[in-house]
């Protein structure tokens, strides 16, 4: 049984009089101890999918189809009370744009302590306090800085404090939404290395959302590529992005274009190449392939019929009319 099993999930936002489908019948799994990366350009529904897991979507959003099960328990339709027990103890979250994710008027150690005591009201304060310092140390923040306010930390430190807080209740799954986006290159590398090592030392499963393919490649075992609310390709990072001398075996033109836009993944150094234009408007129904308008290899059928997912090799799926089974 997978740790996280997202099955056919759709997320709709009410906007004005109409609605917008940000996530459209998405299925994916995260196995115990696995790191899954989710990529896609801005607005393709990554955050919406991530927030749907602990049921933290904004008030104007609804999960209109599918099921999400975590550790065998169904989360869709669960009461707020039950969800509150699961949040942070089973699934913790590191948010996109962490600059403001810590409460500005509360000391950092208090915020971490709060996470512990909220889920264990009998927690011994001294033990819990020691655990807070231990967690901070784990992410490389000295105990002397524990009593700081968030604004006294650099962006990288804040993100590390956030990660320390996420580990407070020993969750089995950590969802990290663009954990490095707002940071400089050095801090980015530090955070990625930290996530990678924590994953092993704490036995954590990771769902890392990013638009940075090299970050995904650095940390994740598997990758899911989203485009305009749907999964267009998924497979092992090694196969899809290439690793250790093996060339990338991405099948979907969108994935190929993403790779091409990443110079350090061996692609050409031009973002414009193969990726001009914008993703489609999600508030109107789309027939055919969502990527067709931006695809160089688009055929007639692409505009008429949405491509089915094809298993191109074991564990590697692509939703494209051009995809072919790979010869092993």
């Amino acid at each position: 049984m997978s740790l996280l099993d997202i099955e056919d999930v759709s997320v709709d936002y009410r906007i004005g009089s109409g609605s917008l489908r940000a996530v459209d019948h998405v299925s994916l799994r995260v196995e115990q101890g696995e790191a899954l990366g989710i990529v896609g350009e801005s607005g393709c529904g990554k955050t919406s999918l991530g927030l749907a897991v602990p049921m933290l979507l904004p008030a104007n959003a609804s999960i209109s189809s599918g099921s999400i099960s975590l550790g065998g328990r169904e989360l869709v339709g669960m009461s707020e009370r039950e969800l509150n027990q699961l949040r942070w103890t089973e699934v913790a979250f590191v948010f996109q744009g962490a600059m403001n994710a810590l409460n500005p008027v509360q000391r950092v150690d208090r915020q971490i302590l709060e996470a512990i005591t909220a889920h264990d009201s009998h927690a011994d304060r001294e033990v819990a306090g020691a655990r807070v310092l231990e967690l901070l140390e784990l992410v490389g923040i000295a105990a002397a800085r524990a009593k700081s306010y968030p604004h006294e930390f650099s962006g990288g430190m804040r993100q590390r404090a956030m990660i320390a807080m996420a580990l407070a209740c020993r969750p089995s799954l950590l969802i990290a939404d663009e954990p490095t986006t707002a940071l400089d290159v050095i801090s980015q590398a530090q955070i990625l290395a930290l996530l990678d090592s924590l994953r092993r030392s704490e036995g954590l499963s990771l769902m890392m959302i990013s638009h940075d393919l090299s970050a995904i490649k650095r940390v994740c075992d598997r990758i899911v590529v989203m485009y305009a609310g749907v999964v267009v390709e998924s497979g092992t990072t090694e196969e899809v992005l290439g690793r250790r001398g093996r060339p990338a075996a991405a099948q979907h033109p969108y994935t190929k274009a993403l790779i091409a836009a990443h110079p350090d993944l061996g692609g050409a150094r031009s973002l414009a190449q193969g990726l001009s234009g914008h993703p489609p408007d999600l508030s109107v129904p789309i027939t055919g392939c969502r990527f067709a308008d931006r695809c160089d290899s688009a055929m007639e059928i692409c505009r008429e019929q949405a491509p089915a997912s094809l298993s191109v090799s074991p564990g590697h799926v692509a939703a494209c009319h051009l995809a072919r089974r790979l010869v092993p």
Binding site: P54, L56, R87, W88, F95, G97, N103, P104, V105, A115
Partner: protein, 322 residues
């Protein structure tokens, strides 16, 4: 909060007070009309008596000398002599200040508690029916002048149902013990305090609601939810704690408003406080009393702003200096 900051603030406070005191002097001494002219309005006024009065009020000195005499008297706590009550102004004000503090203090306390509570209720169910009800009712109450709200209450509770006294501080001629006296004052306090509260709590709830609604969409609120904290804890510990900053600022501004409101309300309910005193002194041209009352109101507003400034320093770690 650093000593330097405190010193800077105290200096500003001193300057503000000095300017206020001086402005108050100008207001009453430079603008046309003085007590002697006023007394002389009746027409036949003996020039000798007139000269004596001019001397009595120190009006024979040049303005600048009058100014320094005024400052010197102020330092000695001498605020002049009331024309009407024929008593030192300090004695006249003494009783009134206590009554106003009782009224305004009660109203402020209830306003803050009720206003914040309503704001929390509205904000935590933003855009729901209860939010709309609270917001619309608050807007309605807020837009009504204090005296008008007071008159409606007088009509309902006094004239119509006779459940509460509508005038004064105590029932005239009532002889009771200490306890009975307290109850009597409390009963008299209800309507004027309620009037002040209705208007101001309405404004306060709107301010807290809007501040809270702004705070609720901050990233750290999502973190608080993700941590699995109870709704209650999220609102009171995280949202309200962050919303206190604008609310403290609003409270400081509000003191100016409530003092203004107190003049109307005390007049409507004949509550023997500073407000009623100011009203009567205006009617009777009792300049020294007016002068002192203005000064006290101004000082009250300045002091509240000073306190809220310091409070802000304590509440917001981002502006706190080590």
């Amino acid at each position: 909060m650093s000593l330097r900051y405190l010193a800077k603030k105290l200096f500003t406070l001193a300057v503000t007070l000095y300017v206020t005191v001086s402005f108050n002097f100008l207001l009453f001494h430079v603008l046309p009309g003085n007590p002697v002219q006023l007394l002389a309005r009746s027409g036949h006024f003996d020039p000798a008596a007139r000269a004596q009065l001019v001397k009595l009020f120190g009006l024979d000195h040049p303005l600048i000398v009058q100014y320094f005499i005024y400052l010197k008297d102020m330092v000695h706590g001498n605020l002049g002599f009331s024309y009407v009550y024929r008593q030192p102004v300090t004695t006249v004000l003494g009783g009134a200040i206590g009554n106003t503090v009782l009224l305004v203090g009660t109203a402020t306390l209830v306003t803050i508690v009720v206003g914040i509570w309503l704001g929390v209720v509205a904000a935590s169910r933003a855009h729901s029916l209860s939010d709309a009800t609270i917001t619309v009712t608050s807007l309605g109450l807020w837009s009504m002048p204090d005296f008008f709200t007071g008159m409606i209450l007088i009509f309902i509770c006094g004239v119509w149902t006779h459940i509460l006294p509508i005038s004064g501080l105590v029932t005239p001629g009532l002889v009771t013990g200490t306890w009975g006296h307290l109850v009597d004052v409390a009963r008299h306090l209800i309507l004027p305090a309620l009037t002040l509260t209705l208007v101001n709590a309405a404004e306060f709830s709107l301010i807290s609601r809007n501040t809270l609604v702004d705070v609720m969409v901050e990233d750290y609120m999502l973190t608080a939810r993700a941590k699995g904290l109870s709704r209650r804890r999220i609102i009171w510990r995280h949202a309200l704690r962050n919303a206190t900053l604008p609310i403290v600022t609003a409270t400081a501004l509000y003191v100016g408003m409530i003092l203004g409101g107190a003049i109307q309300v005390e007049t409507v309910f004949s509550w023997p406080g500073m407000g009623l005193l100011i009203y009567n002194s205006v009617v009777q041209r009792d300049y020294p009393v007016l002068e002192a009352a203005f000064l006290i109101f101004a000082i009250a507003v300045i002091a509240t702003n000073f306190i809220s400034d310091l409070l802000y320093q304590v509440l917001d770690p981002r502006v706190r200096r080590a």
